[in-house]
């Protein structure tokens, strides 16, 4: 974050549209993640005593009120990119270790989530471009541990944590974008009032 500079945001109409679309995709992805988690728990016979929270897999800078919109979007984009990489690795390792080729509900839902996440990443990129002008400083995957555990039970838990991570960051995208929308709406209203006042003085 330190190597990036903060900028003021200039909210345009296209950015609002992109934000709305991105929020909608994130909401859809969030729903699909929930379904995927349920299917996975059912498939692996995971009960609540098995599923213990064990820290985050995605590493991004901590949230802060000091972050401007660009940084917030960058942070979310970075987290989603990491989720996407983790998801791809998880699918590969799962099929390699536990078998693939089956087209059950779980496999279909996993494929759907993967594709939806791709859409969300594209939309996030467009949103950042609309807000920031250019997609500079593409988030990297440095420091991300992509090699899963070798023990199969650990691998199963790891896959589940990846799904949970994706679900978490999808929710973060939704809440952040919704917050940004309300802020932008207030700013637009204030700008409109100021213009009106200025015109009245003239």
């Amino acid at each position: 974050m330190a190597h990036r500079r903060s900028r003021h945001i200039s909210v345009t109409e296209p950015s609002r549209t992109t934000m709305t679309r991105t929020t909608a995709i994130a909401e859809q992805l969030h729903y699909e993640c929930c379904v995927l988690l349920e299917l996975y728990k059912k498939k692996e016979s995971f009960t609540t005593d098995v599923l213990v929270a064990d820290g985050r897999l995605v590493t991004v800078p901590p949230p802060s009120s000091q972050l401007d919109t660009t940084d917030k979007l960058w942070r979310l984009h970075s987290a989603l990119l990491q989720c996407s990489s983790l998801l791809e690795i998880a699918i590969i390792k799962e099929e390699e270790e536990l078998g693939g080729g089956k087209t059950g509900d779980y496999e279909s839902q996993r494929k759907t989530v993967k594709e939806r996440l791709s859409f969300l990443l594209v939309s996030m990129g467009e949103l950042r471009k609309a807000v920031d002008g250019s997609v500079s400083l593409t988030p990297t995957l440095e420091g991300l541990k992509l090699d899963g555990p070798t023990a199969l039970f650990e691998l199963k838990l790891w896959i589940y944590r990846i799904f949970e991570e994706l679900d978490y960051w999808t929710k973060m995208v939704i809440s952040t974008l919704q917050g940004l929308s309300s802020v932008l709406a207030k700013e637009r209203a204030r700008t409109t009032r100021m213009r009106s006042t200025r015109n009245a003085r003239r």
Binding site: D49, L98, G100, G101, K102, L152, F153
Partner: protein
């Protein structure tokens, strides 16, 4: 150590030698035994963790039997103790023995000791050798064993969980089930899962939890089957390569543990591990193949061998094309591989038309086309092709994609023609619409009717949807002779006209022939007839609705010569409809009706009922009904059922099986209303029925006869009674009307005979006067002077006074009983007071007194009318004196000589004089203070019969009075 000692003794040559030999032998044996039971040295342990196998080796000398003990080091629990025979490894000079542990060897540390055994003798135990487990304190982390294990279905597997230092063990779950555990050491706990079932794709989880139900560690176990293959066969499609196929049982092992296949030592790529049909392609035909399937639980091997020409499995023909004509077509196709051009092929061509499939088989080298014959013009077909090797046929190849085509049009077939003739020499030429036989769109029909004899011809054209042409033969045939008429029909389409369909018939055809019944069976009406050997003509079976008689919609089928039976069925057949089937033979000379049948596809109950009427005939009821129209029979009518429907249920009276009967007489009915129902029935049941109601009137003649008989009997009875009474009149008189003896009166009472009709002087009135100083309870007869009466009248004012009679001597019966003796009224209730007066005399009656005309004795004057209010107080004033007191002047009493209808006498009837009582003050008191006695009774002759008290109605009184008067007169007249 045993020592070998040898000593010699020259003095004994044989015995010492023998003894020495024995001693030497024993020494050798003893020396050998001491050498075998050495303590095993250099005991070493080696492990195979995957197989959970512990290999123990040692130097045991020449011994072959050893005791081995294995203990869990930490808890010093023996897990194995046994004697084993271990041969010496000649190469290494060591003894080696393998032991398989139930638990993974990592679970806890094991201690091993060995000793030599020779029979019952054993050596000392060897030094203890320890196998360190993973639960050593130096290894603090939590662990679980085994991990990622693959076991066969039905196996028993022991898992152990080593908890972290300081952590307290909770439980182990296999799948979702908590399983029993055993403590192996301070930190190690084990569980054994027995008879494991196949796991799902990602295996079964074994998870260890601490006492706080927090996940400690988990493992996955895969339970599946070793490979099992079948139906391994190699074929060729392109005559070069080999495609080998086989089927597998699902081993339940996937991913890294899935089954891997090699064909002739070359790996086969299994892209679809869940698909049970596998295949592997080898680019060159090798003739012999070995398939090996391997998975973590085992392997399976199959082989196959064949020549290429015996395993040709052709590919499906491609790019089908058809050259279609009206009656045939040629189908062409191509092959994917040029090698097929020289291959002898046999091909199957499947032709589909309206769902009907026909197969053609053609063969040839490099076959690429086939001719399809016997097609129908203007018809839609579908065709597909598959082929196999003509020589060494192996199997049919795959079907090609179907190709649909249509044959070309052609002139129509001649229509199927028939003739319907009405009775009035009109009729219609009918033909069956051409469907497939049209061979194209029909544009019309041309109908020609002509007579060769008359040389008349009429031709008409009809539209394509026409199927009949009405003909008036009278316009064609002028004579009434047996003229032959020929009808011809030609169908036309765009390709041209059909061959003419002709039929010859005569107007003088007979239409009458015996009709028999036929029954519809599963496939239709089965009709059969006798064959006429002389006839070479064809037959036609025609049928129509029997109810139709003119220009009927007729159907027919043609039957070839020699066939004498046919089964007729039609989609137009309806249940409940009578059909007439007619068998005709027809030739160029005309047609002839041979036989006729009638039948139903399904008989139903009649659709209408009879018209029923009922009429009375004497005491019987005649039911008559009309016939049901034949169209409503809907079955063969079997008869009628007659019911009495007067009650709530129908009561069957008669079952009339003669269907021609139209009436029925019901006999033995009583008077009243009766309802009858008549139902016609077929084999399907009864119709709803018709009901008629009739009310039976009494028979008048008989009524009159009965009336007259009754009257005659009654008259005869009265005549007999009258005659009897006349003949026995003396007896009757004695019995019912005896002479009344003269009364015997004391004193100055007159002894005159006859009825007492005392008429005292008109100037005195006998009045009951109360004699208060003597007997206040007795009344007395007193004579009331006329002057007093006048005064009384004066004193009473307008009070009514009976003036029919002059002032009379009046007697008041003393009241001695509640049932007074009533005075008689000879004529009527309104008879004169004189009659009353006579009745008021206390008498002895021998006659009968009817109640209506009896004397009225007023006990309770209060019950009289108001204007006749009895002067009770006056009576009281007179009742005080006893005895006869004519001088007692009491105008009140005199003014009330006539009493109204008494009310109190209802309690009594006729009381003879035996009821007479002496004066009794008590009784006087009970009757309200009236004087109870007048002294001795007066006997009076009376002509009246005293009858018991009966009905009190005035009319009855009058009637009775009249009757008694008549009877009295009758008796009087009969007196001699």
């Amino acid at each position: 150590m045993p020592h070998l000692s040898v000593s010699t003794n020259p003095q004994s040559k044989y015995c010492p030698v023998w003894l020495i030999c024995v001693i030497l032998s024993l020494s050798v044996v003893h020396t050998h035994a001491s050498d075998v039971l050495r303590v095993p040295q250099q005991v070493t342990l080696s492990t195979n963790f995957k197989e959970q196998q512990l290999s123990i080796s040692w130097l045991g000398g020449a011994a072959t039997t050893f005791d081995i003990i294995i203990l869990r080091t930490e808890l010093n629990i023996t897990v194995f103790y046994g004697t084993v025979s271990v041969p010496l490894d000649q190469v290494s000079g060591l003894q080696r023995w393998n032991w398989t542990s139930a638990e993974p060897l990592e679970c806890t540390s094991l201690s091993v000791k060995v000793r030599s055994r020779d029979g019952q003798e054993t050596s000392e135990w060897s030094n203890t050798q320890n196998l360190q487990g993973s639960d050593l304190p130096s290894n603090e982390q939590s662990q679980i064993y085994p991990m990622n294990r693959v076991v066969p279905v039905g196996a028993n597997t022991t898992f152990c969980c080593i908890v972290k230092e300081g952590q307290e063990f909770g439980y182990i779950k296999y799948g979702n089930a908590v399983v029993n555990t055993t403590r192996l050491s301070r930190r190690s706990y084990a569980t054994t899962v027995v008879n494991q079932g196949p796991s799902h794709q990602s295996g079964a989880n074994v998870v260890c939890f601490d006492s706080l139900t927090t996940l400690i560690v988990g493992a996955v176990v895969f339970v599946g089957y070793p490979p099992l293959l079948r139906d391994f066969v190699c074929e060729t499609h392109d005559l070069t390569s080999a495609v080998c196929r086989w089927n597998v049982r699902d081993p339940k092992l996937y991913g890294r543990r899935r089954t891997k296949y090699t064909l002739n030592m070359r790996n086969c790529l299994d892209e679809y591990e869940h698909v049970p049909q596998k295949k592997c392609i080898v680019q060159q035909w090798e003739g012999n193949w070995t398939l090996l399937a391997v998975n973590p639980l085992g392997q399976y091997r199959l082989t196959d061998s064949a020549e290429l020409s015996h395993r040709v499995y052709p590919v499906a023909p491609t790019k089908l094309r058809v050259d279609a004509h009206a009656w045939n077509a040629t189908v062409h196709w191509q092959w994917k591989y040029s090698s097929y051009f020289t291959l002898g092929l046999v091909c199957q061509v499947e032709l589909t038309c309206h769902g009907i499939i026909k197969n053609f088989t053609v063969s040839g080298v490099g076959l690429q086309s086939a001719l399809l014959s016997k097609l129908q013009p203007n018809e839609d077909y579908g065709v597909r092709v598959r082929c196999g090797a003509q020589q060494n046929f192996w199997k049919w190849g795959n079907w090609s994609q179907p190709l649909y085509f249509k044959t070309k049009t052609f002139v129509p077939d001649p229509p199927d023609l028939w003739m319907w003739i009405n009775e009035d020499n009109t009729g219609q030429v009918v033909w069956k619409p051409l469907n497939r036989q049209s061979h194209g769109q029909i544009i019309g029909y041309e109908v020609t009717v002509w007579s060769r004899e008359e040389n008349v011809q009429h031709t008409h054209t009809f539209p394509p949807d026409a199927a009949a042409a009405a003909i008036d033969f009278t316009q064609i045939v002028t004579s009434s002779n047996d003229t032959k008429v020929t009808a011809t029909v030609i169908a036309k389409n765009n390709e041209g006209s059909s061959q003419p369909a002709s039929m010859v018939f005569r107007l003088t055809e007979t239409h009458t022939v015996a009709v028999s019944r036929t029954v519809y069976e599963n496939s239709g009406f089965r009709l059969s007839w006798q064959s006429d050997a002389n006839t070479t003509s064809d037959y036609v079976v025609e049928w129509h609705d029997s109810a139709c008689s003119r220009n009927c919609p007729v159907e027919w089928i043609k039957v070839l010569t020699g066939i004498t039976n046919v089964t007729v069925d039609s989609p137009n057949f309806q249940p409940g409809v009578r059909y007439t089937f007619s068998l005709y033979s027809f030739s160029s000379e005309g047609r002839q009706l041979l036989q006729r049948w009638q039948g139903f596809v399904q008989e139903l109950v009649p659709s209408s009922s009879v018209l029923l009427s009922a009429s009375q005939q004497d005491t019987d009821v005649v039911l008559t009904w009309s016939s049901i129209p034949q169209v409503n029979h809907r079955g063969f009518l079997l008869g009628f059922n007659v019911y009495n429907s007067s009650g709530s249920e129908l009561k069957l009276i008669a079952n009339l099986t003669d269907k021609e009967i139209r009436s029925y007489t019901v006999k033995g009915l009583s008077e009243g209303t009766h309802k009858f129902t008549v139902k016609a029935y077929t084999s399907a049941g009864e119709d709803s029925g018709a009901t008629a109601s009739i009310t039976l009137e009494p028979y008048i003649d008989w009524l009159i006869f009965e009336l007259l008989t009754s009257l005659g009997v009654t008259a005869l009875f009265f005549i007999i009674v009258t005659f009897f009474c006349y003949k026995k009149r003396k007896w009757v008189k004695r019995a019912f009307y005896p002479d009344i003896p003269e009364p015997k009166l004391p004193g100055d009472w007159s002894r005159t005979q006859g009825p007492l009709d005392v008429k005292p002087s008109s100037h005195s009135i006998i009045q009951i006067v109360e004699k208060s100083d003597q007997d206040s309870s007795k009344e007395m007869l007193v004579v009331i002077p006329e002057e007093d009466e006048d005064e009384e009248e004066h004193g009473m004012g307008d009070e009514p006074v009976d003036t029919d009679e002059p002032a009379s001597l009046r007697y008041y019966n003393q009241v001695i009983d509640e049932r007074p003796i009533r005075p008689r009224y000879p004529d009527s209730s309104t008879s004169s007071a004189s009659s009353l007066d006579s009745g008021r005399t206390d008498v002895t009656y021998t006659g009968i007194q009817t109640s209506g005309s009896s004397l009225v004795f007023q006990l309770h004057p209060a019950g009289s009318s108001e204007d006749q209010q009895p002067p009770i107080d006056v009576i009281d004033s007179c009742s005080g004196g006893g005895g006869y007191r004519p001088q007692c002047n009491n105008a009140h009493v005199a003014s009330h000589e006539l009493f109204n209808e008494p009310q109190a006498y209802a309690s009594g009837g006729y009381k003879p004089q035996s009821s007479w009582h002496l004066d009794s003050p008590t009784e006087a008191g009970e009757v309200g203070g009236l004087a109870p006695s007048l002294g001795s009774p007066t006997s009076v002759a009376s002509t009246q019969f005293l009858l018991p008290d009966g009905e009190r109605h005035e009319e009855e009184k009058q009637a009775s009075s009249s009757a008694s008067t008549w009877f009295t007169n009758l008796l009087s007249s009969s007196k001699p």
